[in-house]
């Protein structure tokens, strides 16, 4: 394991550099593309131009200062952990924390359920290949993958609405994270949150199930056709053992790597899902901030997304380094084949 550490440090340093660059790219892109003044100008009554200019320069967004100067001021703040203030004058860092937690409450159950069920379904499909369950699963997965996140979210929302109407009860909540102004004990509050969580979680989970089941099935089918598995079968190793120990185990590494690289698309799906369900998480904040021209908020979200995308890859790197000695060597020491 000792050789793994330098590799990981090298990898982490590279990732840190990438995060810094990606966040800078985000800020520069946002500062160049968004018009922070537009939000103030659209207010009723329209504030005097001097007030708008003063407000913008206080936020460090005044367009008359060169982009490089604005960027330098922003970067200096970020290094100290200060992400600046939003257009409606709140600390970006505090809001970021709040939104992150809201998104995590939606994303974690959805992805965990999705990954576990997806892998299980994929294994089952590969084990009983071409059986009725496998065929149905494949068709369903392809269909779900062809439905964009916002369409799936809207369809499930309509379904929940329909069930509520049909039963005459409020079984599902489909707007927001809880019913505003509802009083009651902690238990009632928890129940209310769960009712609101069910449908958005299902939106995320369905997509993940489809994705993982397809990938796991393909990997396992490849593994089942491999020489060592056929040899084990020929030796008379029982079918269940062959499946679990000889075929399934080596496929879990590429599946874990696959999972690590799904962070980006997952965030896209999350953004649209949050927007449909009025869930006040990061994705909704991003879309609203872009519409408002709130450069500081957008840059902070970009920074956060880059951290998430790259840290998701670290466990996969660790696993690969622990299992494959070739990965640990720096590129110039690797043998070229």
């Amino acid at each position: 394991m000792a050789a793994v550490l330098p590799f990981l440090l090298r990898r982490a340093a590279g990732h840190l550099l990438l995060v810094a660059l990606a966040a800078s790219l985000c800020y520069l892109l946002a500062a160049a593309c968004l018009r922070p003044g537009a939000d103030f100008e659209a207010r009723h009554p329209r504030p005097p131009q001097q007030v708008i200019d003063a407000e913008l320069s206080r936020l460090g967004l005044a367009a008359d200062r060169p982009l490089a100067a604005r960027y330098a001021r922003w970067a200096a703040g970020v290094v100290r952990g200060d992400f600046g203030r939003t257009a409606d004058d709140r600390a970006v860092a505090a809001e970021l924390g709040r939104r992150c937690r809201a998104s995590a409450r939606l994303l974690l159950p959805g992805t965990v359920i999705g990954a576990v069920l997806g892998v299980a379904l994929g294994v089952r499909g590969a084990a009983r290949r071409h059986g009725p369950g496998d065929r149905l699963g494949t068709v369903a997965a392809v269909a779900v993958l062809a439905i964009p996140a916002f369409v799936l979210a809207t369809l499930l929302q309509l379904g929940a609405q329909w069930i509520n109407t049909a039963t005459g009860m409020r079984i599902f909540g489909y707007v927001g994270e809880y019913t505003p102004g509802e009083s009651g004990g902690a238990l009632a509050g928890l129940g209310d949150r769960l009712r609101h969580l069910a449908v958005p979680t299902m939106t995320i989970a369905l997509g993940q199930i489809a994705l993982y089941s397809r990938y796991q099935r393909t990997m396992l089918l490849d593994a089942l056709a491999a020489g060592h598995v056929r040899a084990a079968r020929a030796r008379g190793v029982p079918g269940g053992t062959v499946l679990r120990k000889y075929a399934l185990r080596p496929t879990l590494i590429p599946v874990a790597t696959f999972a690590a690289y799904q962070a980006g698309p997952l965030l896209t799906g999350m953004t649209l899902t949050e927007k449909v369900f009025g869930w006040h998480g990061m994705g909704e904040w991003l879309v609203d901030s872009i519409a408002r021209g709130d450069v500081n908020a957008v840059a902070a979200i970009g920074c956060c997304a880059a951290v998430l995308v790259l840290t998701a890859r670290l466990p996969a790197d660790l696993l690969a380094a622990a299992l494959d000695p070739r990965v640990r060597l720096p590129p110039h020491e690797r043998m070229s084949t």
Partner: protein, 281 residues
């Protein structure tokens, strides 16, 4: 490219079905509106929020516009954006990948570094941030934006394949005979990448149509008065509970488009790669 390979493609059911469906969707989008008398901006004062009927095949919106005309108008734009963005993304990936692989050295490192940097951010985020640029500009800029978000991974694959092809004897021979890098690229490298690039372009059509629909749904893609499936769906979602046809037909056509693109791309992938899981006996 050997003839047998393409014959296998023609015989494979999935890509052929996908191509037929995609072609039918294009015909529907471009010729479909002529089948009906209603234009997308006409209001039928006798039918507000009417369900599908012989007069209005897809029903009407709450303010009496024909959903069939609206949907097909949006689909036309979505299909064109998807096709152009996919071609742009695959073309850019091929160019960057081959150039990086063939020329190597500092340019290679720089290009791959840019790819890594762009891959550190979710691509949708990049398009979203740049989307306000689209206000008041042509939808062609949206095509460029979407293409710019889709080329990176393929560029890496193309580079890897180029590196392995470059060491083959016939390429070395061509170089020793004085062929220019450009000639090597066009004559000896690109043809071997054709299958990969065709598959990539087909899958990119799906990705581009999805990206466009998502952006337009959020109000950040195609800008009114122009419309696409995304804007039609955004409008339909508002009234979908009471008038499901304002959302359902556009959603169905969008999913059908994506399924067709998937069938073409994935099916070709299986048909062209004899070792892929779909073929294991």
């Amino acid at each position: 490219m050997s003839g047998g390979r393409w014959r296998r493609v023609a015989g494979a059911p999935a890509p052929a079905t996908g191509l037929v469906v995609m072609f039918a969707l294009f015909v529907l989008a471009f010729a479909g509106p002529r089948l009906r008398p209603w234009r997308y901006d006409e209001v039928d004062f006798t039918a507000f929020g009417a369900p599908p009927s012989a007069e209005h095949w897809f029903g009407t919106t709450q303010d009496g516009r024909d959903v069939y005309a609206l949907t097909l108008r949006g689909m036309r734009r979505s299909l064109v954006i998807g096709l152009l963005a996919a071609l742009g993304a695959t073309g850019a990936a091929a160019l960057v990948g081959i150039v990086a692989g063939l020329l190597g050295g500092r340019l290679d490192r720089l290009l791959m570094w840019v790819v890594d940097l762009l891959l550190a951010l979710p691509t949708f985020l990049i398009i979203l941030i740049a989307a306000p640029l689209l206000r008041g500009r042509s939808w062609l800029l949206l095509v460029v934006l979407i293409a710019a978000a889709l080329w990176m991974i393929t560029a890496r694959i193309v580079r890897a394949v180029t590196l392995s092809l470059e060491r083959r004897e016939y390429v070395v021979a061509a170089r020793l005979m004085g062929a220019s890098p450009f000639a090597i690229m066009c004559r000896h490298i690109a043809p071997h990448l054709a299958a990969l690039l065709i598959i990539d372009a087909a899958l990119n059509v799906g990705a581009a149509v999805t990206a466009e629909a998502g952006l337009s749904y959020l109000g950040l893609g195609v800008q009114p008065p122009d419309s696409s499936l995304g804007t039609v769906l955004a409008e339909g979602a508002q009234s979908a509970a009471g008038y499901p046809w304002t959302f359902g037909f556009a959603a169905g056509l969008l999913v059908l488009t994506l399924l067709a693109a998937h069938l073409i791309g994935d099916g070709l992938c299986d048909a062209l790669d004899p070792t892929s899981a779909g073929r294991v006996r």
